[in-house]
Symmetry: C2
Subunit: 466 residues, 2 copies
């Protein structure tokens, strides 16, 4: 049986009655919501709803369920695997207006925010509380989107990803019910783990409208450093030794020589164009000194040089801002291009081998490719930059991406450490875990029998995309 | 539609052909598998299968699916909410014989074990590797069981629960398929989080046959201490201040005066019969000294006294062995009783209030009740000890338990922090999250449409238990 979706026209009167001017069919608005930051073909939705409350999302969902209209949740549009394109048309719900920070509980070190609150908005709100939220993907993403895509970032090696930092969610189901997945208790063994079911489901099982997050206490001392290496291999070996020594390093990021050139250009820095590690230490004053000493010793074993420290917070912020801007920096290397980005994650014992083989591939490629990543977790990214006028570059890039994923899978790794599946990695997920995908389909059918929620993402549903 | 289960007799020939003498219908064997360590009424299964491999569990499951026989996975039988009773009869699969440690990857700090490996078996296997696995419920439970019940323990405040320490599972589904839920990569955003779906599902969604665990590096320095207080209130306030100060304490456990009496008796200790905290610090030599100094200062603010240190590992082991034996210790206070145990977890800002109100209830009770818990997480337990000859005690105990759960829910807490739902907390889970339970039912129906897996636990299924 193939799903037949309804026409948006049949639902529009009800949607307009509910939302008034916050329902738009203007083509500029639709275009804007038809793509993320990836190179995937833009596919505008038929209409865009600007929601303000969970109850409103619930009402929208009920209308769309009655009329069989696909629904795509939209945060900031900063995903990079083709997450928000309206593959089957339908309604995009823009949650950006749900930007209220509902509560911060200092004593419990948690907070609850609407889905549209962005990570920098939260960061600025938490200033002077002594607390911070550690998950930091490159973009200033919304926290709802970060939960939906299981986002991660530079602090994950110490503080974990969204999976470890979400206590509870409020979710609207495919038929418009409102569900809380957890409580504010720090731990619970009360029934199935609904919180984790929705984290990383990319809007295909429900729409996340509120997020309750774990916060962390700011450390007494923070110190950042930059260190250069003559080869990526040396840098990686230094990382592996650091992790295996059990040093509780807060950040340890690899940027290859080309990435450094891009960052120098975009962020007006003047680092040598060599592989670098960006590092950060968190702890007590003496703890940070201890960690830094131990890491510097390991670095010197692997030829690390130019160890330069940033202890003042402005210096540190400049450093990490440059790191977070890696993606726009890379794009400048090939003006007019749409980058093909990819990420994999492997057990750390296989990381050196995985990166070595990948570098051989990069050296043979006919276009610029930058490598960077959260190597303390065994996770690294490529941004492949095909020439805008050479369509054959795209084909070559895709083949290289495929080889990378196959390499990671052969090493007991995963086809994506943090970018998610979107449209881009559906076949890779299938390759990684065919039996698991069949189980995911059972769950999808149970929770969204009409295939309304972000269809065409995460899973091929044979009865839907034929 | 009400589920009609098949008769075991119809499946026995096939099961015996598969398992030979490892299929038993002996009444002693059935009795042994008909109860956990709780006071819930024993309900023996119709037969017990002793499985050795995942493939065997899969074959057993296929036979039972064809004949519509309920299947209960059994590890060590140490749960305490009525988790393994054969409510609808059927086959118990004892996984205790699946006790092989399949691999330990020192470099990646992970290991993979069969479901029947127990936590002490793993601890002893890891000796001399420099690694340890932190999750430590009181009993020497199996790691499959610990994953299935989302177990926790004294180290959770620093190292997390099973939810944070399982990388991947191998699971047999209700129709006998074998599924791997994850990889050995430290993080992944590849599709729905099947790992967490099975953690805490108590054998109702699938049977866990292999577990891949995160391990942690042994710390350079470990130091334990015991400290007494004149009131539980003071002890709790000390805990709250410690947690809110961000001190990375590894263990901080409350034992009330009656619990101390029980431990003194059972473990031949001679602590004063006053509320105590058992504490442990992990870190570098200087880090541990720093933490201990900070905590001692906080303790003295709240009248903590008799701070006694255990730095040698034998002393420490004796201390924590006594703590882990809290449950059998408590039972000695009322010989011949079957304890009613319960646990809740609340945000730490509400912990003092929750415990104060609960103590008033305890003071009014007509039977002994001990209180203890992982208070650094906001999680505490009661073991209520009704007199074996006074049935009215049970009713009183249940009412007290109900008040405790309601109190925790009103404080944004959960009806169970780590004991799970089993049979004991099905109604409480419903009270805590009715909309969530409806979603859990949808998942249950999708993955186990015949209601074969551990029926009568976690959820009431209206089409099954009437």
């Amino acid at each position: 049986m193939t799903t037949t979706y309804g026409q948006i026209d049949t639902a529009l009167p009800e949607l307009i009655r509910l939302l008034g001017e916050r329902l738009s069919t203007a083509s500029a608005v639709r275009e804007h919501h038809g793509h993320d930051e990836s190179g995937f073909r833009p596919l505008p939705p038929d209409a865009v709803a600007f929601a303000r409350t969970t109850e409103e999302v619930s009402e929208i969902m009920k209308i769309c369920a009655r009329h069989r209209i696909p629904v795509i949740a939209y945060g900031t549009g900063t995903a990079i695997e083709g997450h928000v394109q309206a593959v089957h048309g339908g309604l995009c719900i823009d949650l950006g207006g749900m930007d209220r920070i509902l509560e911060v509980n200092r004593e419990d070190m948690d907070c609850t925010v609407q889905a549209g609150v962005t990570r920098l908005q939260l960061e600025s709100h938490l200033r002077d509380t002594g607390l911070f939220f550690p998950v930091d993907p490159g973009a200033d993403a919304s926290l709802g989107g970060m939960a939906a895509t299981s986002a991660s970032g530079t602090n994950a090696v110490r503080y974990g990803t969204m999976k470890e930092n979400v206590l509870s969610l409020k979710v609207v189901t495919a038929d418009g019910r409102i569900i809380k997945t957890g409580t504010r208790a720090k731990k619970s063994s009360a029934g199935y783990d609904l919180t984790h079911l929705f984290i990383g489901s990319e809007g295909t099982l429900g729409i996340i409208t509120e997020v309750t997050l774990r916060l962390h206490g700011l450390q007494e001392a923070v110190s950042s450093a930059v260190c250069s290496f003559t080869s990526v291999d040396d840098a990686i070996n230094m990382v592996i030794h650091t992790i295996q020594s059990g040093i509780p390093i807060a950040r340890i990021e690899l940027l290859d020589a080309l990435m450094m050139r891009a960052i120098n250009g975009y962020s007006k820095m003047d680092y040598p164009e060599q592989p670098h590690l960006f590092l950060e230490f968190h702890g007590s004053e003496s703890g940070v000194v201890e960690q830094a000493r131990a890491v510097q010793e390991i670095a010197s074993e692997f030829g690390g040089s130019d160890f330069s420290w940033a202890t003042r917070s402005e210096e540190r912020n400049r450093l990490w801002k440059a790191r977070h801007d890696a993606y726009p920096s890379a794009l400048q290397l090939q003006p007019g291009t749409r980058a093909i980005t990819t990420d994999v994650c492997v057990p750390i014992s296989r990381l050196a081998e995985c990166i070595r083989e990948t570098r051989e591939d990069i050296d043979r490629a006919s276009m610029p490719i930058v490598m960077l990543g959260h190597v303390g977790d065994g996770n690294f990214h490529l941004a492949i930059l095909p020439h805008p006028d050479r369509p054959q570059d795209v084909e070559e890039a895709e083949a290289l991406n495929h080889r990378l994923v196959r390499r990671a899978l052969a090493m007991e790794g995963t086809c994506t450490g943090e970018h998610g599946i979107g449209q881009g990695k559906i076949d890779f997920l299938q390759e990684q875990n065919p039996a698991g995908v069949e189980l995911m389909r059972q769950i999808k059918r149970a929770l969204d029998p009409q295939h309304l929620l972000n269809p065409g993402k995460v899973l091929h549903m044979p009865d839907n995309d034929g």
